[in-house]
C-alpha cells in the first residue's frame, strides 16, 4: 500500500454553525469533509439536546498538513471565543493520496 500520510483534523462544535463552518473549511482548501451528529460535555456545559440549539456535530477533514493548520488557525480566531468547540489532529495513512 501507498504509505502516504495526511492530517486528520477533527472538530467538535455546535450544530448551529455547521453551514458556516463547512463553507470556511472548503474556502481554506479542504476537498471534502465528513459530519456526524454528536452530544457531549465540555467547558460550556452539557450539549445533548435532540432539539437544535444545544446539539453538537463532529466534523472530520482529511487534508495535507498546511491546510489542516490553516483551518485550525482560522477556527481558533473566528469561533473559539464564542462557540463550544474543540479540535485535534493526527497523522493517518491513506490510500489515494491524489485525492486530498
Amino acid at each position: 500500500m501507498s504509505n502516504e500520510y495526511r492530517k486528520l483534523l477533527t472538530v467538535i462544535t455546535e450544530s448551529a454553525i455547521e453551514r458556516d463552518l463547512l463553507a470556511d473549511m472548503e474556502r481554506l482548501g479542504a476537498h471534502g469533509y465528513t459530519v456526524t451528529d454528536a452530544r457531549g460535555k465540555g467547558s460550556r456545559g452539557v450539549r445533548d439536546a435532540g432539539w437544535g440549539e444545544a446539539s453538537n456535530i463532529r466534523v472530520e477533514v482529511l487534508c495535507d498538513d498546511a491546510t489542516a493548520r490553516a483551518i485550525a488557525l482560522h477556527l481558533r480566531t473566528r469561533y473559539y471565543d464564542n462557540y463550544a468547540m474543540i479540535l485535534f489532529m493526527s497523522d493517518v495513512e491513506i490510500l489515494r493520496p491524489e485525492k486530498f
Partner: protein, 313 residues
C-alpha cells in the same frame, strides 16, 4: 381560574419527570416532526379562515404588529442592560420581542376549550412578529456597524423553519379553502391537540433541564422572565384592542406579546451575536417564561382581554 387544560398537564408531567431526572426523552426526530406539524397546522388553519373573508381590513393592522415587534425589545433592553453585558441584553431583548409558537398553540387550545372565538388571521401576525425583534437585537448588540453579514442573516430570518412552514401553511390553506383542506384535516386539525400534548411533554423536559442554569444565573432572570411577559401582555392587549380585535383576538395578541422565542431567535442570535451567552436567554425563555405563560399566563391574558374590553366599552 378554570381547571388546567389537559395539554398543560402534559407539560407538568414532562416538568416533573425532568426534575426527577427520569429516563424520558422524545427522540429529536419526533420533536422536529411535531413542531413542523404544529407550525403547518397553525398556518393552514389561519389560511383556511382567511379564505372565508376579505383580507382588506388586515393591511393596516400589520404595521401596528411590526411596530410592536420593534418597540418591545427596545423597551426590554435598558432593563436587561442594568445587569447584563451588552450582547446578552440585546439577545434576550430579541427573544422577548419575538414570539413562541408553542405558547400561541396553547392559547389557541385554551380559547377553543373555553369556547372563545377570535379573528382568523392572527397566524399572519405570528409569522410577522417572529422577525423584527431579531433585527432590533442585532442592531442593539452591534450598533449600525458593518460587521454583520446581513445577507446571510436575512436568509436565516426570512427562510427559517417557522416562517416557511407557517407562511407556507397560510398560503396553502388560503388557496385550498375549507373544502380542499377537509381531507387533510385528519392529520392537521383532528390531531392538533394530541400533537400539542406530546410537544408540551417534551417542552416540560426541556424546561426542567434549564433549571440548573437558572440556579446558577440567579434571581434576576427569574424576575425578568415573569415581569416582562406581564408587562408585554398589557402592551399587547392594549394594541389588540386598539386594532379592534375581539376578546379572543386580544387575548391571543397579548399572549404573542408576552411569549418569548426559543426557536428562531436563538438560532439567529447564535450566528449574528455569537458573544451572547445562549444559556442565559434559553434559561429565561424556556425555564421561566414558557412555563409561566403555559401555567399561569394564558388564562390571565384572557381575563386581561375581557377587562380591557369592558373598560374600553
Amino acid at each position: 381560574m378554570p381547571a388546567l387544560d389537559p395539554v398543560v398537564l402534559f407539560f407538568l408531567l414532562g416538568l416533573a419527570a425532568g426534575l426527577a431526572r427520569a429516563d424520558l426523552r422524545l427522540p429529536g426526530a419526533i420533536y422536529e416532526f411535531l413542531s413542523m406539524v404544529l407550525l403547518l397546522a397553525i398556518g393552514l388553519k389561519g389560511g383556511v379562515e382567511l379564505a372565508r373573508q376579505s383580507p382588506v381590513e388586515l393591511l393596516p393592522q400589520l404595521g401596528a404588529v411590526l411596530l410592536m415587534g420593534i418597540v418591545l425589545p427596545l423597551a426590554a433592553y435598558p432593563v436587561l442592560r442594568w445587569r447584563l453585558a451588552r450582547p446578552d441584553a440585546a439577545s434576550i431583548a430579541a427573544h422577548y420581542g419575538s414570539v413562541s409558537v408553542g405558547t400561541f398553540a396553547v392559547a389557541v387550545a385554551f380559547l377553543a376549550s373555553q369556547g372563545v372565538v377570535y379573528e382568523a388571521h392572527i397566524p399572519v401576525f405570528v409569522v410577522l412578529l417572529e422577525m423584527p425583534a431579531i433585527m432590533v437585537g442585532i442592531l442593539l448588540a452591534r450598533g449600525m456597524g458593518r460587521q454583520t453579514d446581513w445577507k446571510r442573516l436575512g436568509h436565516e430570518v426570512f427562510l427559517g423553519k417557522g416562517v416557511v412552514l407557517m407562511g407556507g401553511g397560510l398560503l396553502i390553506g388560503w388557496a385550498a379553502g375549507p373544502e380542499g383542506m377537509r381531507p387533510l384535516g385528519g392529520l392537521f386539525f383532528d390531531l392538533f391537540k394530541g400533537f400539542l400534548a406530546l410537544f408540551l411533554l417534551e417542552m416540560g423536559l426541556i424546561a426542567a433541564s434549564q433549571m440548573a442554569s437558572l440556579r446558577r444565573h440567579g434571581a434576576f432572570l427569574v424576575v425578568f422572565g415573569i415581569v416582562m411577559p406581564l408587562l408585554s401582555a398589557l402592551v399587547g392587549g392594549w394594541v389588540g384592542w386598539l386594532l379592534g380585535l375581539s376578546v379572543g383576538g386580544t387575548a391571543l395578541f397579548a399572549t404573542l406579546a408576552a411569549s418569548a422565542s426559543y426557536i428562531a431567535v436563538p438560532a439567529a442570535m447564535r450566528l449574528a451575536v455569537p458573544e451572547a451567552n445562549p444559556t442565559l436567554s434559553l434559561a429565561a425563555s424556556l425555564g421561566v417564561t414558557f412555563p409561566f405563560n403555559v401555567l399561569v399566563g394564558v388564562p390571565l391574558y384572557l381575563d386581561l382581554a375581557r377587562l380591557i374590553h369592558r373598560l374600553g366599552a
